[in-house]
């Protein structure tokens, strides 16, 4: 990093909180036979520690590619991504695995729980990868389950749980190693409105009480409502990045539902 960047950072710090994820002229293109698809065309963005940011964009906009970069799941073709000041492109496969294990939590639209393990076992899998001993893992796991309100279901298998409960299990799992960032891909996508609300509350709680940065790709207006900032991506570039206060969000109500 050059002096120039540092100056910029100091200026940022003066105004804002510390940056957890930064991308500099992030570019990514895919080679599919003879066709080259330019997914990201240069994204410069800084995401602050502890904020709740929603990413929106139509399909094919590069939203998923951006997520992959930011989540350490893929490397850019050019440009840089810094996760907690670590240049992702310089990492080896093992180091990347380490990163994913300790720094970042993932929440998927389809929950992606291991079907043959119980709720508690699912949550302790990342802890096993982090080398946490069995007993401590279970204690931490139970604590996390209490956090999401599932402590009496610790022995249930995913198949015995509702969608909302599975997603809450997934959220607990994502918190297993105290990550700094939570990456959520359409967390409420497969859920109805009422169970969706449980998820909102959960994420909100994690964001506010545990100071976890939450980066959400979503179309759910209620999540957007909760966000600190909102980012729109189109054609591989940031179309707009705005504070929540600068944006008008209307959440509709289905009779009887809004009150919950």
């Amino acid at each position: 990093m050059t002096d120039g960047d540092e100056t910029a950072q100091v200026q940022d710090d003066a105004a804002e909180r510390p940056v957890i994820i930064r991308s500099v002229d992030l570019q990514k293109h895919y080679q599919m036979g003879e066709v080259t698809t330019q997914a990201l065309r240069g994204i410069d963005v800084e995401l602050y520690r502890g904020e709740f940011i929603c990413v929106m964009g139509p399909s094919g906009s590069g939203k998923s590619t951006f997520f992959n970069m930011v989540g350490g799941l893929d490397s850019p073709t050019s440009g840089r991504v810094f996760i907690d000041e670590v240049d992702v492109a310089q990492l080896s496969a093992v180091e990347l695995a380490f990163l994913r294990c300790r720094k970042i939590g993932y929440i998927f639209q389809t929950y992606n729980l291991v079907p043959y393990m119980t709720c508690l076992e699912n949550i302790t899998v990342p802890m096993a990868f982090a080398g946490v001993s069995g007993d401590e893992a279970r204690t931490r796991g139970m604590r996390l389950l209490k956090l999401v309100g599932l402590e009496d279901r610790w022995f249930h298998k995913p198949i015995e749980m509702s969608g909302g409960q599975q997603q809450r299990t997934a959220i607990a799992r994502s918190m297993a190693n105290n990550p700094s960032v939570l990456l959520c891909d359409e967390p409420t996508g497969n859920l109805d409105l009422k169970t969706g609300a449980e998820i909102h509350d959960c994420l909100m709680q994690l964001n506010k009480e545990h100071n976890v940065t939450v980066i959400c790709a979503t179309h759910d207006h209620r999540l957007i409502n909760m966000a600190d900032r909102i980012m729109w991506i189109r054609d591989g570039q940031i179309e707009r990045l705005a504070d929540r206060s600068d944006v008008t969000v209307e959440t509709g109500a289905i009779e009887g539902e809004e009150n919950e």
Binding site: M1, S59, G60, K63, S64, F67, N68, G71, L73, D74, F82, D84, E85, V86, D87, L91, A93, V94, E95, A97, F98, L99, R100, C101, R102, Y106, F108, Q109, T110, N112, V114, P115, Y116, M117, V125, P126, A128, F129, A130, G131, G134, R173, A176, N177, D185, E186, A217
Partner: protein, 525 residues
């Protein structure tokens, strides 16, 4: 820029890995079962073949042991009474242990020294190799190379330089490989006259000895009969003529000769029409020609059968004696003219037959046993004679390899399907911090577990099948002489190969799984 300290990433303990894998396997039991079945089939196939081969070998050696006395007897009979054929002599020179009894016999007959004997032995071995080469030539090639010469003629034929040149040209045209090379052949042919002369000495001396034995010792007696009554004097007599028979040899020969003689007596009874008729009725055969020694022995091997037989003979004797004395009755009863004539001319077998019941039964049983062993032996020699690796022809090995390859393809296929099914799961695991190595170990280990299971099932199945097949082929001998150590060793080998097969098959799918990008897990839109 910060650097990640990867030391903190502790490797997953073996126990935990095992736990994770096993719970996974339980979950995917059906797919795992398919893989296990494939592996156990391959292993069972291999084990069956190995087991059969091992058992066949053991049965062959057991038969060898049991037929040894009879073979010794046959050997001595021909040794004492028949001149040796050139092929016989060559084979014996090639294979008999130096310094042993046969060696000494031949040496004495040929009046040779040790050096000459050694040379004869070696050239005999070389000759066998050459003989086989010449025998395996195709007709056209042989004509071109050797003209009409056959057998030992070939070596005298090739002594002529012109014929040898023709041979050389024709051989390189034929493209066959001459064992030992041209020079060796040439030196062999050069030595041939001398070899033939020395061998001739041996054969003619031996032939003279057999002549002496037949004229001087046997006289009019048949060899079997004479030998069945042999005592120590036989040893002395034969030693004078150059034979070296040991006392053990003689005991065995005497016993076998006795059995042979009595067997001939019993079988001879079938010649008498009345006896044959009675047998035909008793054994419920269609025609009298169906009654042979084997059928008779079959009847006589039991005490009841013998009793009946003796009773029947008694009846026939009584009938004949009675009737012959009464003129006119001959036409009334069914007694043939043959029988009357025989009775008149000499002591008829029916009357001469004087073996006690136990001996009859014993001889019958021995006779049947010998036939049985013969049958089994011919079957076994096909199986165990094979040569090659472990007694398998290269063809069998090729088949086994192909079957393993096919099963490997099946296992690879099953594993690839498993990997494809688990894209999400693998990618999620990677998101949670699994390294490529972990994923790979996961799959290979899973496959190893399946290999172990399949190996055990296959080995057990193979043992059972192999033993069963051997039992149907060779009868009770297969089970009675079961070589348990060898069978278990074969099972061990098959088991190990099964595990190796499944681990190897897992490598490619495991690599594919390990290389999977974690972003497969994130399917936005």
């Amino acid at each position: 820029m910060k650097v990640i300290d990867v030391n903190k990433q502790v490797r997953l303990s073996l126990v935990k890995t095992v736990e994770l894998v096993l719970s996974g396997v339980k979950f995917r039991l059906f797919r795992a079962t398919v893989t296990v079945v494939i592996i156990s089939l391959a292993v069972a196939f291999l084990m069956t073949m190995l087991g059969e081969s091992v058992i066949a070998r053991k049965v062959a050696s057991a038969i060898d042991e049991q037929t040894a006395p009879r073979r010794l007897f046959v050997f001595w009979v021909s040794r004492l009474t028949q001149p040796m054929q050139p092929a016989e002599l060559a084979a014996e020179l090639a294979s008999t242990p130096p310094g042993g009894d046969r060696w000494q016999e031949l040496k004495a007959w040929g009046a040779l020294d040790d050096e000459q004997m050694n040379s004869l032995a070696e050239t005999a071995r070389r000759q066998l190799v050459l003989d086989r080469y010449f025998a395996e030539l195709k007709e056209g090639a042989r004509r071109a190379m050797l003209g009409r010469a056959e057998g030992e003629e070939i070596y005298t034929h090739l002594a002529d330089p012109e014929a040898f040149d023709t041979f050389k040209q024709a051989r390189s045209a034929s493209g066959t490989e001459l064992p030992g090379g041209i020079e060796a052949l040439q030196s062999f042919i050069a030595k041939w006259p001398e070899i033939a002369e020395l061998r001739g000495r041996i054969s003619s001396e031996h032939a003279a000895a057999t002549e002496q034995f037949r004229k001087g010792v046997l006289g009019e007696t048949s060899p079997h009969l004479y030998l069945s009554k042999a005592d120590e004097s036989l040893l002395a007599e034969t030693a004078v003529m150059g034979f070296r028979m040991t006392a053990e040899d003689m005991a065995v020969v005497r016993e076998q000769a006795g059995l042979a003689v009595d067997a001939e007596r019993i079988a001879g009874m079938i010649q008498a029409p009345s006896v044959r008729n009675a047998l035909r009725v008793r054994l419920k055969k269609e025609s009298a020609t169906d009654v042979g020694p084997q059928e008779l022995f079959g009847l006589l091997k039991s005490g009841d059968g013998t009793e009946w037989f003796l009773g029947e003979i008694g009846r026939i004797r009584h009938r004949i004696t009675e009737q012959v004395d009464t003129p006119g009755v001959r036409e009334r009863e069914n007694i043939s003219q043959e029988e009357i004539d025989l009775l008149v001319a000499s002591r008829q077998p029916v009357f001469a037959f004087d073996l006690p019941a136990e001996r009859i039964t014993e001889v019958a049983r021995e006779g049947l046993r010998a036939i049985e062993l013969n049958v089994i032996e011919s079957k076994v020699s096909q199986a165990a004679g094979g040569g090659g690796v472990l007694g398998f022809s290269s063809r069998t090995i090729a088949i086994i390899c192909v079957s393993f390859l096919v099963c490997m393809v099946g296992v690879i296929n099953a594993m690839l399907m498993s990997v494809a099914e688990r894209f999400r799961e693998i990618a999620t695991m990677k998101c949670l911090g699994a390294t490529d190595g972990f994923i790979m170990v996961n799959f290979v280990f899973e496959s190893a577990v399946q290999g172990v299971a399949g190996g055990i099932v296959g080995s057990v199945l193979g043992i059972i099948l192999g033993t069963f097949l051997s039992w149907t082929a060779y009868g009770g001998m297969a089970v009675a002489h079961l070589p348990i150590g060898d069978v278990l060793a074969a099972a061990g080998i098959s088991f190990v190969l099964g595990v190796v097969l499944s681990v190897l098959a897992a490598v490619y799918p495991a690599l594919a799984a390990a290389r999977l990008a974690p972003m497969e897990a994130m399917r936005i839109e």
